[in-house]
C-alpha cells in the first residue's frame, strides 16, 4: 500500500471530531453521503456556498489524498462518522504529531492511515509545503516511511496487527468470530456470574 499525493494543509492543533463532522449530521442511519459534510462549518457559508479560502475547497486540495494537520488530531467524540467523512472526501492518510485514541482506532478500521510524525519532521514538512504547496509526499506502508523530495526519510509507527490487517485485507470481526472456542471457554469458567438482564 503506497500513497503518492500532494498534501492539503490544515494548520490547527486539536482538530476535534465535531469540526470534522458536526453532530447534527449524525442522525443518519447509513454510512453514505458524509464526504460532503466533512468540515462542514469551516467549509461552507451560512447560505451553503463554499468558502473559497478554506483549504478543502481549493482545486489543489480536492486532488489530495493526504491531509497535514496540527497536534492531537481527532480528539473528542467517538463518532466513526469522522473517518467515514474523511475517506469519502477522498483522503487516505492524515499526518499529525499525535492522534486521539478512539479516532486512531476508527481510522485504521476504515483504511485511513493515521501517521504519527516526530515534531521536527512535522515542522519541516509544514515549512517545505510553505515553500512549495505542490510538493507530493510518498507514504510506504510496508516500509513504514514517509518521504518527500528534499526531505528526510521519516519512519512512522503503526500497530503491527493493524498493518497486517490493512495489507492483507483481514476482517477483524471475522478474526475474532473465529476465536469462538476461546470465547466460549472464557464465558464458561468465569469466577463470578455478573448480572443477568434477560
Amino acid at each position: 500500500m503506497q500513497i503518492h499525493s500532494t498534501v492539503a494543509v490544515l494548520p490547527n492543533d486539536n482538530i476535534d471530531t465535531d469540526q470534522i463532522i458536526p453532530a447534527r449530521f449524525l442522525k443518519t442511519i447509513s454510512k453514505e453521503g458524509l464526504g460532503d459534510q466533512l468540515f462542514f462549518d469551516w467549509r461552507y457559508n451560512a447560505d451553503g456556498s463554499p468558502k473559497a479560502d478554506f483549504v478543502l475547497n481549493t482545486p489543489a486540495a480536492k486532488a489530495s489524498k493526504v491531509l497535514l494537520a496540527g497536534d492531537n488530531f481527532g480528539c473528542g467524540s467517538s463518532r466513526e462518522h469522522a473517518p467515514w467523512a474523511l475517506t469519502q472526501y477522498g483522503l487516505q492518510a492524515v499526518l499529525s504529531t499525535s492522534f486521539a485514541d478512539i479516532f486512531k482506532q476508527n481510522s485504521l478500521k476504515n483504511r485511513l492511515l493515521p501517521i504519527v510524525m516526530p515534531k521536527e519532521a512535522h515542522t519541516a514538512l509544514f515549512a517545505a509545503l510553505g515553500e512549495n504547496p505542490a510538493l507530493a509526499v510518498t507514504i510506504d506502508l510496508p516500509a513504514q516511511t514517509l518521504t518527500w523530495p528534499g526531505g528526510p526519510v521519516v519512519a512512522f509507527p503503526i500497530d503491527a496487527f493493524a498493518k497486517d490487517c490493512l495489507l492483507q485485507g483481514v476482517d477483524e470481526i471475522g478474526y475474532v468470530l473465529k476465536q469462538e472456542a476461546a470465547i466460549a471457554a472464557f464465558e464458561g469458567q468465569r469466577s463470578l456470574s455478573l448480572n443477568t438482564l434477560i
Binding site: N14, A23, S30, D101, I102, I173, Y175, I183, E187, L194
Partner: protein, 469 residues
C-alpha cells in the same frame, strides 16, 4: 501472566478479561456490559445483518435513546423526521436482536451514562463499552469503561469481545479538601487545564487521594466522565463502601449470596501496595478555585477569577495560532477578566452534570432568586427517574419559579442534535463537557463550568463566581 508483581486496579481489570492473547496481536478482551444508543449503532446492526450474525450476548447488552431525542413533553411526537427514523431504527434493532431497551416513552429512559449506574448495571471490575466517548463515566465504580467506534460496536455485538492493546496507566492524585463553591466539576476542569486535551492520550487514569475519596458516587461520575477531555479513553476510581452502598438494591445489582460474593471480589480490585503508574500528576484540592473554560476545547480552562490568556505569550507557533483562533471564535479579548462576560443561555444537564447532586446544587443557588431577564436557563435531568425524584423534592418548582425551563431527560444542548441549541454568536455557561466550536449549535460559544457556577451566572446574566452572590 498475573504474577506477584503489584498491579494497579487498571491492570487487574484488564488481566481479568483476557480471552486470548496471540503473540504480536492485540488481546481479545471480554466485555461485561455493552451500552447502545441510537446514533452510533445503526450501521453496526446493518453490519450484523450483512454477515448473518446474531448478537452474541443480548443479556450483557442494553439500549436506550438519548442523543437525538427531544426534551419537550413526552406526549409530543418527535418532529424531526430524520431523528424519529433513527429512534425507530434502534427500537427495531433491539426487538429483532432481542436486546433489552428503554425506549423514548419508557419511564426509565435517560442518558445512557446516567441510567447504567442508576439501574445497577454498572459494577466494579467490569469492562464497559459504548459507542460514546463519555463511557468513562462508569469508571466511577471501578470499571474499565471506554468509548468505541461503530466498527467496534459491531464487533462487540457479534463477539462480546474487542481487540485491544493495554493502555498506559496514569495516576491523578487529588489531595485535600474542596472549599465551599468548588465541586467535582472543578477538579476535572482543572485536570484538563493542567495537562491539556491531549495530555492523557494512550492512558487510563486512576483518580486517587483524599479529595476523590470524599466525593459522592454522583460526583465521582462527573470526574470520570471527562477523562476523555484530558485525552484518556478511560478513567476510574477504586470502589469503596460508598460504591457498594450506591449499587446495593438497584434493579440489576447482585442479590443475596451473590451480593456478598461480589463485594468480596470487588475488594480484591484495589491497586496493590507498591504498584507503579507510567505517569502521574497531582492536583491540590485545598487551593482549587471554581474553574471555567474560555476557549474552544476543554483544556482551555482557568480559575474563574482569572484573565483570558494572551496568544502572544505562547512560544509554539501552532499553539499561538490555535489560541488566537479560539479567542476570535469566542470573541474574547486577551487579558479580559472572564468573570463579568455577558451570557445568553445557561444549560444544566448532560452525562457530566445532570444527576440529583447537580440539580440540588443548582437549585440551592436559584432558591428565592430569578433567572436574569437576558438569560434562557434550561434544566434537563439525566433520566426520567431523576426527573421524578427531583419533582418529589420540589426542585422543579424552584427552577420554574426562578424562570428556568424544566425539561424531559436526554443529552439535549450538550450535543445539540435534538433541537435544543444555541443561536450563532450566543454565549452559554454549560455544565456539559465540550466547548468545541459549534458543539452547542452552529456559531454558539460555550463556557464549561459547574452547576453552581452555571446557576450563579443565570441569576446575574454574566459569568459569575458563585461565592460572590
Amino acid at each position: 501472566m498475573p504474577s506477584n508483581k503489584p498491579r494497579t486496579i487498571i491492570e487487574k481489570v484488564w488481566d481479568n478479561h483476557i480471552v486470548a492473547q496471540r503473540e504480536g496481536a492485540p488481546a481479545v478482551l471480554f466485555i461485561d456490559l455493552h451500552l447502545v444508543h441510537e446514533v452510533t449503532s445503526p450501521q453496526a446492526f446493518s453490519g450484523l445483518r450483512e454477515r448473518g450474525v446474531k448478537v452474541r450476548r443480548p443479556d450483557l447488552t442494553f439500549a436506550t435513546v438519548d442523543h437525538s431525542t427531544p426534551t419537550t413533553p413526552r406526549n409530543l411526537p418527535i418532529v424531526d423526521q430524520v431523528a424519529a427514523a433513527q429512534v425507530a431504527q434502534l427500537e427495531k434493532n433491539a426487538q429483532e436482536f432481542g436486546i433489552p431497551y428503554f425506549g423514548f416513552q419508557d419511564r426509565n429512559q435517560g442518558i445512557v451514562h446516567v441510567i447504567g449506574p442508576e439501574q445497577g448495571l454498572t459494577q466494579p471490575g467490569m469492562t464497559v463499552v459504548c459507542g460514546d466517548s463519555h463511557t468513562a463515566t462508569h469508571g466511577a465504580f471501578g470499571a474499565l469503561a471506554f468509548g468505541i467506534g461503530t466498527s467496534e460496536v459491531e464487533m462487540v455485538l457479534a463477539t462480546q469481545c474487542l481487540l485491544q492493546r493495554p493502555s498506559k496507566t496514569f495516576e491523578v492524585n487529588v489531595e485535600g479538601t474542596l472549599k465551599p463553591g468548588v465541586s467535582a466539576k472543578d477538579i476535572i476542569l482543572a485536570l484538563c487545564a493542567k495537562i491539556g486535551i491531549g495530555g492523557g492520550t494512550g492512558c487510563v487514569f486512576e483518580f486517587t487521594g483524599s479529595a476523590i475519596r470524599s466525593l459522592s458516587m454522583e460526583e465521582r461520575m462527573t470526574v470520570c466522565n471527562m477523562s476523555i477531555e484530558a485525552g484518556a479513553r478511560a478513567g476510574l476510581i477504586a470502589p469503596d463502601e460508598k460504591t457498594y452502598e450506591y449499587i446495593k438494591g438497584r434493579k440489576f445489582a447482585p442479590q443475596g449470596e451473590a451480593w456478598d460474593k461480589a463485594v468480596a471480589f470487588w475488594k480484591t480490585l484495589l491497586t496493590d501496595e507498591g504498584a507503579t503508574y507510567d505517569y502521574s500528576v497531582r492536583i491540590d484540592a485545598d487551593t482549587l478555585e471554581p474553574m471555567i473554560t474560555f476557549g474552544t476545547n476543554p483544556g482551555m480552562g482557568m480559575a474563574i477569577s482569572g484573565n483570558v490568556p494572551d496568544p502572544a505569550a505562547q512560544q509554539d507557533p501552532l499553539e499561538r495560532e490555535s489560541l488566537r483562533k479560539a479567542l476570535q471564535y469566542m470573541n474574547l479579548e486577551a487579558g479580559q477578566p472572564i468573570a463579568g462576560q455577558k451570557i445568553d443561555v445557561v444549560f444544566i444537564g448532560s452525562c457530566t452534570n445532570s444527576r440529583m447532586t447537580d440539580l440540588r446544587a443548582a437549585a440551592s443557588v436559584m432558591q428565592g432568586r430569578k433567572v436574569n431577564p437576558g438569560v434562557r436557563m434550561m434544566v434537563v435531568p439525566g433520566s426520567q427517574e431523576i426527573k421524578r425524584q427531583a419533582e418529589a423534592e420540589g426542585l422543579d418548582r424552584v427552577f420554574r419559579e426562578a424562570g428556568a425551563e424544566w425539561r424531559e431527560a436526554g443529552c439535549s444542548m450538550c450535543i445539540a442534535m435534538n433541537g435544543d441549541q444555541l443561536s450563532p454568536g450566543q454565549y452559554s455557561v454549560s455544565t456539559s463537557n465540550r466547548n468545541f466550536e459549534g458543539r452547542q449549535g452552529k456559531g454558539g460559544r460555550t463556557f464549561l463550568a459547574s452547576p453552581l457556577t452555571a446557576a450563579a451566572s443565570a441569576v446575574t446574566g454574566v459569568v459569575t463566581d458563585v461565592r460572590s452572590l
